[in-house]
Amino acid sequence: MHGANAALESDTPATGPLTAELSVNGTAVVCDRMGVLWLPGSATLVVSDLHLEKGAAFARRGMMLPPYDTAATLSRLGAAIASYAPRLVISLGDSFHDRIGSAHLPECYREQLQGLQRGRDWVWIEGNHDPDRPVGLEGSFCSELHVESLVFRHEPKAGAADGEIAGHLHPTARVIRRGKGVRRPCFASDGKRLLMPAFGATTGGLELRHPAMRGLFDRTRLVAHLIGRERIYSVAYNRMNG
């Protein structure tokens, strides 16, 4: 659609793949528009930065955000798990928005989460928001996990880190064309490392251009895989502004 307004943006461009399939340090991975990473070789599903109970964490500090974020995040997570039927789920840190989040998790959500865990392996990676093992939930807990040629940890390590899959930074990319900008959460990878988008329903984002991202990628090879309404859009970092 060309022109000055986007009244018709419901039109989904027909072209382009719905997912982005790429290789990170030699391992094939699939970036899905649901915001999850799929490793077909090991039937592993990766989600990052769920930030469960974020609303409650803010309410404890006097900001009464809607109490529906956990329900929304879990239902999307349920849909992703139903669609891939993974053998292993990795939750890449900041699974809960604060230290006491898992202990205070309302019973209905706990049961929902336990249902998702049933019949598969589950790994909680330690995050800066949730440095302790989740209370009253299944799954193993660790700060790092190696699968195939990849290493999973919450915070990306400075310097070269071949095969690192990390979250923490909530990457977003801003694409500018014809004077208009669109910002979306994204997967970001230069083939060596991959940053996961935040999965939680009310998590904000940080642009790839932000100083916090400095030094993580070979920017000449960096591609952002933006999460669109119906599909993934892959845009090279050096072509963000057209």
Binding site: G3, M64, P66, A72, N128, R178, R184, G204
Partner: protein, 828 residues
């Protein structure tokens, strides 16, 4: 009038004016009053006379007495600068008469120590802003501080009431009345369309009787002399820069002593300032003044202006209000004024003596603006007013106030309800909604009651609501106010040496919206603070820039400062176009243009809607001329394209200006209308404001932006404070995401109600659109043309130039993703 006032007036060779004496006697009799007077009528002094005479009679209060521990008079102005200016003007008579009166200001700039001292040892007269009043009444000292309050003076009341700021202030006034039952209010205002609304605002409302303050109206002085700039140059079809007129504007500056140049947006101000200096061969002192500039820089300009050292100031609305600006002898208005009252007030800046006529020159930036300027001139001569009305009080504002009242003292819901509904914007508020607001303040007001244990305010056994802890009060103080601006970053100058940036330490230039900076890459240039700057990068929440030598910068695309065309002027423009006998006043280029339109197509008449269709460059266009302002047109454009799509006209996009709307698509809409496939009556049926509107609204970025403002004002999310969000991992709450979650799970939540009410009132101009659809029913005239008409040229030129900020274009992503595909294919 008592001594020493009589003597003081006489010593200056003045007579007290009739309205000053009348205000004095009315207020002495216990009445609250509204004084409507043009600038230069001694309005401010009149407002203070009741206080000053009373304070003179009282004498100095004994230390420790009630009088020494309470304020006597509160003066509230919409602008910090105005409060400071008044202090200066008031100091002189008080000093000369030797009155035992202490006057102080209190604004956001007042140091913390002085503010604390003012709470314990208040002055007699405090000059302040609405936000400071809200802070003071939420303080635990409020009861003592205001116990002896006698007068509250509201300056520029007309500009205060039509915003959420006015809603908050009306609630503060209701509280002040409770603390000091005997207080009288004095409203000072320019001429407005509905003075009774202001009169009601000033006094407590009741359901049973119609309560109003008294009113004194001072007739306007000499009529201003307003002309449209005469230029030999061709007036452009479209655009807002008025670049063609720069040499003529420069010449008028040379011909006058001091010229005030008003523009509508900050980017226009920057551009005009830059262009004037480009040709300023005489190095005339020409300055720039707008709200984003560094405060110190603004103060310097204001001071230089007061000393009559400047020949011209290019300014936005920051200078609109009643500040005394030395000897301005000419106002130049660049761009159309958008409202008759706004023009009158801006012209009032020139020649601050009411018996001499002000002089103003209007400089239209394009041809439609010529018509609008002429309509504004005609309106000015008949004294027509089109100030906006205040509207119903916002529920987000009420939520903020409720939390503040809990911070001040425990409250009883019944009492607070009575107090709130005594404020005129809230006089129709029902109890159920009020209770919902309290519930919202306590726990967010959700159907899912999971936050009870975290409640911010709680009803205790004695039936009173109390704040849960002091942290809540602190949070309230940090988030006070209703002015929500886009996140801004400081702009700081650095220097480049041998290609590298020197350390920090350059001067701050002001603030720029973060979203604008997001579009810049290092090395890009832009215009700000009258300079062409090179963007170097962002470091610790500051935008670093260096001096650039480029000739053509990228101009900042500021969102702020765009007013919609007033309904009154829109009607006048329509009437002017429809009546060729009125074209004599217009420049030849413009009347020729209208005549051409008459021959090629037809003129839009004043009571119908003209629709033209024509093909152009493999597209089919439909151009409408409703003259209802850009905002209403944008809403209409969104709704029309939805409908056209259903009617299979394959619309591709649209663009809106203040005057017209163009929609284009792949189907020949002209042919569709002619052969009956497209029914215009159906297309423009009023029911588009029903389901289509709801469906679109829910997805609209505009509603999300409104929601963000409501969420911040209501205290759901916190204001962003400069320096608070450090680099690295940012834990900001995204209002957009909260909106999505809330809309999915609780579509009737009170904050969504508040958001929709706001959108309908201002943001989308739905009321105005509704009135238009009613007006044109059965009066739609369609012309199927072979090619573009003269009247359509301006809007056709806007296509591609117009950008809609914030709208998420899936298509843009697709286009960008194509690049990568192409690149990948080329590699193979």
């Amino acid at each position: 009038m008592p001594e020493p006032f009589l003597g003081w007036f006489a010593s200056r060779g003045w007579q007290p004016r009739a309205h000053q004496l009348e205000l004095l006697s009315e207020t002495a009799a216990g009445r609250s009053m509204l004084l409507i007077a043009p600038t230069g009528a001694g309005k401010t002094l009149a407002g203070f006379l009741p206080s000053l005479t009373e304070l003179a009679a009282r004498g100095k209060p004994k230390p420790g007495s009630a009088g020494a521990r309470s304020l006597h008079t509160l003066y509230i102005s919409p602008l910090k600068a105005l409060a400071v200016d008044i202090e200066r003007n008031l100091a002189r008579p008080v000093e000369e008469m030797g009155l035992p009166v202490r006057i102080e200001t209190r604004t956001g700039d007042t140091p913390q120590s002085k503010r604390a001292r003012q709470r314990t040892d208040p002055p007699d007269i405090l000059l302040t802003t609405p936000e400071q009043v809200s802070l003071l009444i939420a303080n635990t000292h409020a009861e003592r501080l205001f116990s002896g309050l006698r007068y509250v003076i509201f300056d520029e009341l007309h500009s205060l009431i039509s915003s959420k700021r006015g809603h908050l202030l009306s609630l503060a006034l209701a509280r002040l009345r409770k603390l000091a039952p005997g207080l009288r209010t004095i409203g000072l205002s320019a001429t407005v369309a509905d003075p009774e609304e202001l009169q009601r605002w000033l006094v407590p409302q009741s359901r049973l009787t119609d309560e109003r303050a008294g009113r004194i109206t001072v007739a306007g002085g000499a009529s201003p002399i307003i002309t449209i700039l005469e230029s030999e140059e061709r007036i452009p079809w479209s655009g807002h820069s008025a670049r063609y007129a720069i040499p003529d504007v420069y010449q008028t500056i040379k011909d006058h002593r001091t010229t005030l140049i008003f523009v509508n947006t900050r980017s226009q101000a920057e551009l005009l300032f830059q262009e004037l200096w480009r040709i300023n061969d005489d190095s005339l002192p020409i300055a720039l003044h707008h709200g984003s500039l560094d405060a110190a820089q603004r103060r310097r300009v204001e001071a230089a202006m007061g000393r009559n050292e400047l020949r011209a100031v290019v300014a936005t609305s920051t200078l609109d209000l009643g500040i005394d600006w030395g000897d301005v002898d000419l106002v130049v208005h660049v761009g159309a004024p958008k409202g008759a009252s706004r023009l009158a007030q801006r012209i009032g800046r020139a020649n601050h003596r009411m018996d001499e006529p002000s002089r103003a020159i209007l400089t239209p930036a394009n041809r439609f603006e010529v018509l609008e300027c002429q309509a504004a001139i005609d309106a000015n001569y008949v004294g027509a007013q089109d100030t906006p009305s205040g509207g119903d009080g916002g529920l987000d504002v009420l939520a903020q106030h409720v939390l503040g009242m809990a911070a001040a003292a425990p409250f009883d819901a019944e009492d607070l309800y009575a107090e709130v509904t005594s404020a005129s914007p809230y006089s129709d508020l029902d109890r159920e909604t009020f209770d919902k607001v309290i519930d919202f303040v306590a726990t967010g007001g959700y159907a899912l009651k999971s936050y009870e244990r975290y409640a911010r305010i709680r009803k205790r056994a004695d039936g009173l609501w109390r704040i849960s802890n002091q942290q809540v009060a602190q949070q309230y103080r940090l988030n006070i106010g209703t002015i929500i601006e886009a996140p801004m970053l400081n702009v700081r100058m650095t220097s480049r040496k041998n290609g590298t940036l020197s350390g920090r330490g350059g001067p701050p230039l002001g603030k720029v919206e973060e979203y604008f900076l997001e579009t810049l890459a290092p090395g890009d240039t832009f215009l700000f603070s009258g300079k062409i700057l090179r963007f170097e990068g962002i470091r610790e929440n500051e935008c670093l820039v260096s001096k650039a030598w480029d000739q053509d910068p990228k101009v900042p695309a500021y969102a702020g400062g765009k007013f919609p065309l007033s309904t009154y002027l829109a009607d006048s423009v329509r009437a002017m176009i429809a009546d060729p006998t009125k074209w004599g006043a217009l420049p030849d280029q413009v009347s020729d243009w209208l005549r051409m339109q008459q021959q090629v197509s037809q003129l839009p008449s004043s009571d119908s809607l003209l629709i033209e269709t024509f093909p152009r460059a493999e597209r089919f266009f439909m151009v409408l001329y409703p003259f209802e302002g850009r905002i209403a047109h944008q809403t209409l454009g969104m709704l029309l394209t939805r409908r056209l799509e259903r009617m299979r006209a394959q619309p591709l996009g649209f663009v809106a200006t203040d005057y017209s709307l163009a929609v284009w698509g792949l189907e020949d809409m002209g042919a569709m209308i002619s052969d009956g496939r497209l029914d215009l009556a159906e297309l423009f049926d009023e029911d588009m404001l029903g389901d289509d509107l709801d469906a679109w609204l829910n997805e609209s970025w505009m509603l999300k932006r409104t929601f963000r403002a409501c969420a911040v004002i209501s205290g759901l999310i916190e204001k962003r404070h400069p320096g608070q969000e450090k680099s690295g991992r940012q834990v900001t709450v995204s209002a957009d995401l909260i909106y999505d979650v809330l809309r999915t799970h609780e579509p009737d939540h009170i904050l969504l109600q508040a958001t929709r009410a706001d959108a309908a009132q201002g943001l989308l101009d739905i009321q105005r659109l509704g009135a238009m659809l009613k007006r044109i029913k059965g009066h739609i005239q369609h012309r199927a043309l072979e090619r573009i008409s003269p009247l359509a040229v301006p809007i056709m030129l806007e296509i591609g130039r117009e950008t809609v900020a914030g709208e998420a274009h899936e298509s843009i992503l697709a286009e960008a993703a194509e690049d990568l595909l192409t690149e990948a294919q080329n590699q193979i």
